[in-house]
């Protein structure tokens, strides 16, 4: 187990270097003019252009810039954004917002999603099953910005139930974006759980358990639920990464100054160092989340061993 974890951790190094190098190359391949982008529609003074070009090595090929970036990273320096802010500060400040958001989303999607899926799976063809199928279908088919805007206008503006935007308003202001963010995954999880439960109910070991006369509750919790959760846990694990980075649209609508928003902004102004900094962190989150999922497998299914 220890060796397995160590090996997985070591594997992260080349993955990390590979992904960040690709991002770096891609950012610079766009071939835009980050200095002008920083200035919007105003002319850039020559002296400013010269100073920024030298400071960020913008006139060098991407691998040289990447070299500077890596050597800084080794010394614990994430570099500066084009506007002159330390990227480490930006990451530290935006991370808690996104973690809070993702946590709410994760709780919402896991509890409601699994519960709805179980009910639908155990009583297939019933009213509850149809209701779950119909509602998840509609959630999946509506783009997230539509759901977000509707929620904002009705729940926030018209009914005044929750804060419209996140500007230092405390934890309540994370609720609406968190639920919106979780809604799409919630639908997927409900459907995944339903299919998985339905399948497991038909398996040989459940029939055997029934034949042995085990109580319903034990059959359900140990044999059906446990095995049904394996694909769901896999999905949840991957979703952690998606929630962290994919919250771009939601964070923008609800004004959450998190990771997604920073990635969005950096993409817009082609701020290479910031983009790479944030995406590197996202890569790490993905890697750790998938490690977590693999370890959770062992809890759910002891047959899975690590060597």
């Amino acid at each position: 187990m220890g060796r397995y974890v160590a090996r997985r951790l070591l594997q992260m190094i080349p993955v990390f270097i590979g992904t960040t190098a690709i991002i770096f190359a891609l950012t610079l391949a766009i071939g835009g003019d980050p200095v002008q982008n920083l200035y919007g529609e105003r002319p850039v003074p020559d002296s400013v252009r010269i100073a920024l070009t030298q400071q960020y090595h913008l006139d060098e090929p991407w691998y040289v810039q990447y070299g500077y970036y890596l050597s800084g990273l080794v010394q614990g320096d994430f570099g500066q954004s084009l506007a002159g802010r330390p990227i480490a500060d930006m990451i530290l400040e935006s991370w808690p917002h996104t973690v809070r958001l993702a946590l709410i989303a994760l709780i919402v999607e896991a509890t409601i999603g699994i519960a709805a899926g179980l009910m639908a799976g155990l009583k297939r063809g019933s009213f509850v099953d149809n209701l779950v199928l119909l509602s998840t279908l509609s959630v999946i088919s509506i783009p997230i910005f539509v759901i977000g805007n509707f929620a904002q206008i009705f729940i926030g503006v018209k009914w005044g139930l929750l804060p419209v935007a996140n500007v230092i308003d405390g934890w309540q202001s994370y609720l609406m974006p968190g639920i919106v963010l979780g809604s799409v995954s919630l639908a997927y999880i409900a459907r995944l759980t339903r299919a998985s439960v339905a399948e497991n109910l038909r398996t040989d070991y459940v029939r055997t358990a029934k034949a042995k006369g085990l109580p319903q509750s034990r059959i359900f919790s140990v044999h059906v639920l446990r095995n049904s959760l394996i694909p769901v846990v896999t999905y949840l694990g991957v979703d952690i990464g998606t929630l962290m980075g994919g919250a771009m649209v939601t964070e923008r609508i609800f004004n959450v100054p998190g990771v997604g928003f920073n990635v969005f902004k950096a993409t817009q102004i082609e701020d290479g160092p910031v983009l790479v900094g944030f995406v590197s962190m996202l890569v790490l989150v993905y890697l750790f989340a998938s490690l977590l999922v693999d370890l959770l497998y062992a809890v759910l299914d002891p047959r899975i061993r690590y060597v």
Partner: protein, 543 residues
């Protein structure tokens, strides 16, 4: 059992994550959440920087306008009136003497002439990469601080180190007197001093400029409350010892930082925001009924136009340039696309500056399809295969560009297409390299209230925003003569003559003058926005 062991491992990992989040939420949600009785809130976007010399965008400007008082302010007629300056005088328009009023910085130290000199030198020094760097270009010695790259920015040679760190034309005579020597006489210099980049900075700022930026210290009516919370909030509160003017009628301002104007608008409707400085175009149709008399407009200095590629053969004949302009119905586009939120432009300078005359563009800006067709025929028709209108796709310009093209197609009988280019920067690069073969959109916001600010940078040979390469010796001469004229009247006369040359040559098509379109909540009154898109902070009140 392996399973149980890893379960523990996982559980502790989750516990650590939860603890980490809990910690950060504790330290973040501090008690200073605008609980101030007399505080109002106002929307801004995340400022780029908060150092005077390097703040040229509207959000940073708005914040600094609370923290600082400029040397001059402007009256209703846009004439400069003394604010932080006691007097600004010159006998030859070249050497200017600025006397300062008594004032203190928010940290208690007195404001000295030296504070201005140091701040301006910092801004003018090339390697500091201040956005407002070019504003100091009128002062003697500027070139020594900003050497040109010998072989252009693409070349291999690095730009040489600047020869000097201080402007030779700038000195503090005593604690209260600054003497500025310009490289050329400029009668409009006092107006220039109203701009953000000419604020002073206290001595402590220069020890660590980046740290200063997190909580800028000024000499204005408000001081920072805490630090700049990036992407969230800048809070300021009234400064008790303010001496440079009337004290504000509100106790504090929370500048809330929004990423999206639509979100800010929804927050205004929900009652969480007091002042929204720009109502997004998307909701313009419903905003009037949503807000009633809290929906406001005021004049702004923006000028939107289409520029011709002066290097393209198809646009060489000025009759062609005029014909296209005459085929455009400006008023219809403003009504339909902009819901009346802008004014049509038929002059090359904005109505907000002294010396503005209506309809200087004359016939060429009058909507007259028949005359337009005739003029184009006289010129031998359009020589290219189609007229292109270039625009940046990220700025919400598609609608009006397409409408303009429809009009050109219908009224002139020439094929016209809107050509989106992802970013404005790319459009400008293409134009500068003479790769773009169509007309393209441009916009201008005034830096200081003067006709010259609309003429010089945009049309003089080598002007900082003259991307399309218009060049006319007579025009250059008149603009320069206006700058060095002894009185404002003389200057305006010269600049008006220069404007007439533009009407004759038509290097661009004037389209629209902007308006500030803003709104506020029921808990504030006397809300107004000035020409620089800043909320007027000394008159706003709690309702």
């Amino acid at each position: 059992m392996r399973g149980a062991k890893s379960a523990k491992w996982v559980a502790s990992a989750i516990a650590v994550t939860l603890a980490a989040t809990a910690c950060s939420s504790g330290s973040d949600g501090g008690g200073d959440e605008g609980a101030n009785g007399g505080a109002i809130s106002m929307d801004i976007a995340e400022p780029k920087r908060l150092i005077p010399a390097t703040t040229t965008e509207s959000s940073g400007n708005q914040v600094l306008s609370a923290l600082f008082t400029p040397l001059v302010e402007f009256d209703e007629n846009n004439k400069p009136v003394m604010a932080a300056a006691e007097s600004i005088e010159s006998t030859d328009n070249k050497v200017w003497t600025i006397k300062l009023k008594d004032a203190t910085f928010h940290d208690g130290t007195p404001v000295k002439a030296e504070n201005y000199v140091k701040a301006w030198n910092w801004g003018a020094y090339g390697p500091n990469a201040a956005d407002g760097n070019y504003f100091f270009g009128t002062i003697e010695g500027y070139e020594d601080l900003n050497p040109q790259d010998p072989d252009g920015e693409e070349g291999p040679k690095k730009a040489p180190e600047p020869k000097a760190k201080e402007l030779s034309g700038l000195k503090a005579v005593d604690d209260k007197t600054i003497e500025v020597t310009l490289s050329d006489p400029f009668s409009g210099f006092p107006s220039l001093l109203g701009y953000t980049v000419f604020y002073p900075m206290p001595d402590s700022a220069f020890e660590d400029v980046e740290k200063y930026e997190e909580a800028p210290i000024g000499q204005g009516p408000f001081k920072m409350k805490g630090e700049w919370k990036h992407d969230q909030l800048v809070s300021v509160t009234a400064y008790e010892d303010y001496k440079l003017g009337d004290k504000p009628k509100i106790e504090a301002i929370d500048f809330k930082i929004y990423q999206d104007q639509n979100t800010a608008y929804n927050d205004l409707l929900a009652g969480n925001l007091d002042v929204l400085r720009t109502i997004p175009t998307e909701v313009m149709g419903t905003a009037k009924s949503d807000l009633g008399d809290r929906f406001k407009t005021s004049p702004a200095s923006t000028f939107q136009f289409l520029a011709y590629p002066m290097y393209e053969e198809a646009y060489e004949d000025k009759r062609v340039r005029k014909a296209i302009s005459m085929a455009i119905d400006r008023d219809e586009i403003i009504d339909v696309v902009f819901q009346g939120s802008q004014d049509s432009a038929r002059s090359f300078v904005s109505p907000v500056v002294n010396g503005y005359r209506e309809d200087t563009c004359g016939e060429a800006c009058k909507f007259d399809p028949a005359a337009a067709k005739k003029l184009l025929q006289e010129a031998g028709g359009f020589k290219g295969d189609k007229i292109q209108l270039g625009y940046n796709a990220d700025g919400g310009h598609k609608q009006w560009i397409d409408a303009t093209c429809d009009q050109i197609r219908k009224n002139l009988g020439v094929e016209c297409v809107g050509t989106p280019i992802p970013k404005f920067a790319e459009l400008l690069t293409q134009v500068e390299n003479e790769q773009f073969s169509g007309a393209f959109r441009m916009g201008w916001i005034m830096d200081y209230p003067s006709m010259e600010n609309y003429l010089g940078p945009l049309y003089s040979t080598g002007g900082s925003s003259n991307y399309y390469g218009f060049s006319n010796k007579e025009f250059d001469k008149l603009v320069a003569e206006g700058r060095s004229a002894e009185t404002e009247e003389e200057a305006i006369a010269k600049w008006q003559q220069a404007e007439d040359i533009l009407a004759e040559e038509m290097p661009v098509i004037p389209l629209r003058f902007g308006k500030n379109v803003f709104g506020h909540s029921e808990s504030v009154k006397n809300v107004d926005i000035d020409l620089y898109n800043n909320v007027v902070l000394d008159q706003i009140e709690k309702a």
